[in-house]
């Protein structure tokens, strides 16, 4: 092959620039520490790296969520402990009162103690975590223990020939001509936006409205217009009364928090279950607050059978709370296991991502040095070859 000066020069230039490009790439590798800094460097590795990054972001979020869930559960757990110890203390007090010789003053002392205990339990029920009532199910903005408001009169619903409109807490509901109480009750219960007012029969054929609300005072606003009067719907002279009993004022469900792609933990329980409000946990049995109120009366009256009944009920409640406490302990443990697993996965993913996108710096530095030598050799050989020419030997 004929070699001309031009081809020699071009060849040397091409070699030098290729050599220099390799040098620059290695320098970039060492400086950035990244094997893949653009998707086109290695599309497969880039895809993997993006995947790992997404998984890592998700895991970080799951860990945050797990933290939120754990705080919530810990709060619930502490509250359950408190309920348990209050019940135990009430049982002790009740036992000590089954003693014929106990003075009236001592009984009054016990009664006052039970009052304080009741207040304490209501406080525990109203526990809030970051502004959320932890025992209120999904209705985290309402206190879980509420008073039951009723609105009704005495007597039956009287159908009228002309229809009218019943307005409950600002929501208008039609009352048809010739309506029945049952039909109207069903219609009211189907409506949403009534601020948790429910309707039922007042026992005499009239309509009764109920609402759980922590306060006393009038909270059920009722008005009628058209062919009906309040008396004809609710019975004669309807009034709002606040029941003496307690009722559950929270919502259904529990606080559910996602802590992994497939796991949603239930981080709370409701006051209905803990305190047996509305007999939610033990059908037919009164709620814990009522039990304590009854017990207080039994102790004041020195009514031994009633006191013993109270003790039995408290023991049953204490068992339920203890079981719940144990269950929560288990859930927290599971959650901690889950967090451990998430952290391990995170570390694994970090290592995988690093293996995919990080350069082997030691290797890269060695390569860089070698390439530098190669480049220098290319420069040197080019310079020595270009000096040769026949001109030097012609006179």
């Amino acid at each position: 092959m004929r070699v001309t000066l031009g081809s020699q020069m071009d060849y040397a230039k091409a070699n030098m620039s290729a050599s220099y490009a390799r040098l620059v790439r290695l320098q970039e590798l060492v400086a950035s520490g990244k094997k893949v800094s653009r998707p086109s460097h290695d599309p497969v590795a880039a895809n993997q790296s993006l995947y790992y990054t997404q998984q890592l972001a998700d895991i970080e979020q799951y860990l945050r969520n797990a933290g939120i869930a754990k705080d919530f559960m810990a709060r619930t757990s502490v509250a359950l402990d408190e309920v348990y110890s209050q019940i135990q203390s009430a049982i002790g007090d009740a036992r000590s009162s089954i003693n014929a010789t106990m003075s009236r003053a001592a009984r009054e002392g016990l009664a006052a103690k039970l009052d304080a205990l009741l207040e304490r339990l209501r406080d525990v029920a109203d526990t809030r975590h970051l502004g959320r009532y932890i025992f209120s199910g999904h209705r985290t903005d309402s206190p879980p223990v509420a008073l039951e408001h009723r609105f009704t009169g005495t007597g039956a619903f009287v159908p009228q020939a002309t229809g009218g409109t019943l307005t409950i807490n600002g929501v208008a509901i039609a009352v048809e001509p010739g309506d029945t109480a049952a039909a109207l009750i069903a219609r009211i219960n189907q409506r949403s936006g009534l601020h948790r007012v429910t309707a039922r029969d007042n026992g005499a054929g009239g309509v009764e409205l109920r609402m759980a609300h922590p306060d006393g005072g009038n909270v059920i606003q009722v008005a009628v217009s058209g062919g009906y009067t309040l008396d004809q719907i609710f019975g004669t002279a309807p009034v709002e009364t606040v029941g003496t009993g307690f009722t559950y004022g929270g919502g259904d469900g529990s606080v559910r928090i996602q802590v992994s792609p497939s796991t949603v933990v239930s981080a709370s329980t409701t006051a209905a279950v803990v305190f047996n409000l509305d007999s939610a946990a033990a059908p037919g049995e009164p709620d814990l607050f009522r039990v304590i109120q009854d017990l207080k009366r039994a102790i004041l009256d020195a009514d031994v059978p009633a006191t013993e009944l109270g003790i039995t009920r408290l023991e049953a409640a204490s068992k339920r709370v203890l079981a719940m406490r144990v269950e929560f302990g288990g859930r927290i443990q599971n959650l901690e296991g889950m967090v451990g697993h998430l952290e391990q996965t995170r570390d694994n993913l970090k290592e995988l991502r690093s293996r995919t996108e990080d350069a082997d710096v030691a290797q890269a530095v060695v390569d860089l040095k070698t390439q530098e030598q190669v480049y220098q050799a290319a420069l040197f050989s080019a310079s020595s070859v270009f000096r040769l020419t026949l001109l030097d030997y012609l006179r």
Partner: protein, 462 residues
């Protein structure tokens, strides 16, 4: 043949040597001229003597009559030129594809922390966070902010790639102009070649110039050249003649249905059949690759708008609002925006399916969309990842192809250089050869002259 013949023979030798030196001088002078092909003299023996004047000394046989310069040839391999033109076309196609895709890829900037992929992650994770603490305003503001950033980034990428696509129209126009200009130059060169051929001269420098113009044209579009002389030279693009002798055809631009400029023959022979060169690279990226990328971005935006809105409309915000769209209704990446109502009042962000503040079914369901196979059997994130790695793959292919084509071209150019290039050492060696040849002829001249002098002295007048 007379004694004087030796004088003319020696003179022809000196004349030839001088001509050869001139050619060498021209070769050396043009050693670095692009497109120059080295030239060499074609020598032939002199014409045999005619008539009856036959020297007695050589009775019965002929001596030669010296040397004559038959012509000057360009040393070249026409087949190599064809291969170089083909290699130039495909190298140019891949190089421009590589350059255009590099610009597209840089729009995504994915492997950093603020790529679209991490914005998507953040968007889903803000919903997860909202699902874990659904009551307050802060997680809602965070959801809206992350969605706003995501939507803004998608719109920006979309708009930038669209702009690059539009920019390519002017790239096409520039190249069409260049093709027309070069075609005109070639036609002019042909005209001169025709004129000189008539005069009987070998227009080597014009042929070099034409070869170079064809090579320049090869970088732009697939051309094939046939014929050598001025009048029978044909330059084709996809079967239609761009230049034929001194005639040339104009190329112009026509807007297609999508609003993109397509090169067409000005005399109504339809679109050019372009399958190589920079034009091919441009058209392919503009009309095939970029629409594919934009379509994918549209699909991602549509999935977000439709799926998130469908769930969000069923949910309840902090103040009991319901039926609110999360993203402004629309279609395509260019329209992806967070509903202005939500930007104004993040309390409208719905997490609850029932209106109860602790219910998180909607937030959870929206967060779960991150794992749903919404676009052709892929999740939104997967689909986006495929887009990014798809572009990376296309670019990597273009880079590799450009590199191998460049290598091939280099090999061929080196081969041509080895055939047609000027080697200074070789020229110097030839120079010495012709120098000596000149000196030898001069010596013969001198010797013959001496013989003639002796002859004249012997027989001459005293």
């Amino acid at each position: 043949m007379g004694t004087f013949t030796s004088l003319t023979t020696a003179a022809s030798g000196m004349h030839a040597a001088r001509a050869a030196m001139e050619i060498i001088a021209n070769n050396i002078a043009n050693a670095n001229t692009p497109g120059f092909k080295r030239q060499a003299p074609i020598f032939a023996e002199g014409n045999p003597p005619t008539g009856t004047s036959i020297s007695s000394a050589t009775a019965g046989s002929f001596t030669g009559t010296g040397v004559q310069l038959k012509g000057i040839r360009r040393i070249q391999d026409a087949f190599l030129d064809m291969r170089i033109n083909a290699a130039t076309q495909s190298k140019a196609q891949w190089s421009i594809a590589r350059d255009l895709l590099t610009a597209v890829e840089s729009q995504f900037n994915e492997l950093g922390d603020n790529g679209l992929a991490s914005l998507l992650d953040r968007f889903w994770n803000q919903w997860r966070e909202l699902a874990a603490s659904p009551e307050g305003l802060p997680p809602r503001s965070a959801v809206v902010a992350s969605a706003d950033m995501l939507a803004g980034r998608i719109r920006e990428i979309y708009a930038n790639i669209r702009a690059q696509q539009t920019q390519m129209n002017s790239g096409v126009a520039t190249r069409v102009d260049q093709i027309n200009r070069i075609a005109r130059d070639i036609a002019e060169v042909n005209e001169k070649i025709v004129a000189l051929e008539h005069g009987g001269y070998g227009p080597n420098d014009l042929l070099n110039r034409r070869d170079q113009l064809v090579e320049e044209l090869s970088a732009l579009v697939n051309v094939s050249a046939h014929g050598n002389s001025g009048s029978d030279f044909i330059l084709n693009i996809g079967g239609h003649a761009l230049v034929q002798g001194t005639f040339r055809r104009e190329i112009t631009l026509e807007q297609d249905a999508a609003g993109a400029w397509q090169p067409v023959w000005a005399d109504g022979m339809g679109r050019l059949a372009i399958n190589s060169g920079e034009l091919r690279g441009l058209l392919e990226i503009r009309d095939s690759a970029i629409p594919r990328y934009l379509e994918r971005l549209d699909a991602i935006a549509n999935a977000l708008i439709q799926q998130v809105n469908a769930l969000h409309r069923q949910g309840y915000g902090m103040s009991g609002s319901t039926g609110v769209d999360f993203f402004a209704p629309g279609s395509g990446a260019a329209t992806l925006r967070v509903n202005q109502q939500l930007l104004d009042d993040p309390r409208l962000v719905a997490a609850s399916a029932t209106g109860e503040p602790g219910n998180t079914a909607i937030a959870q369901a929206i967060a779960d969309l991150s794992g749903a196979l919404l676009i052709g059997g892929e999740t939104i994130s997967q689909s986006y990842r495929s887009l990014v790695t798809g572009i990376g793959g296309d670019l990597a292919l273009a880079e590799r192809s450009a590199l191998t084509r460049e290598f091939t071209l280099q090999q061929l150019t080196r081969q041509r250089e080895s055939v047609s290039g000027v080697s200074l050492d070789e020229e110097l060696a030839d120079m010495v050869r012709y120098q000596q040849s000149f000196a030898a002829s001069a010596r013969i001249f001198e010797a013959t002259n001496y013989i003639l002098q002796v002859l004249l002295e012997q027989v001459g007048v005293r």
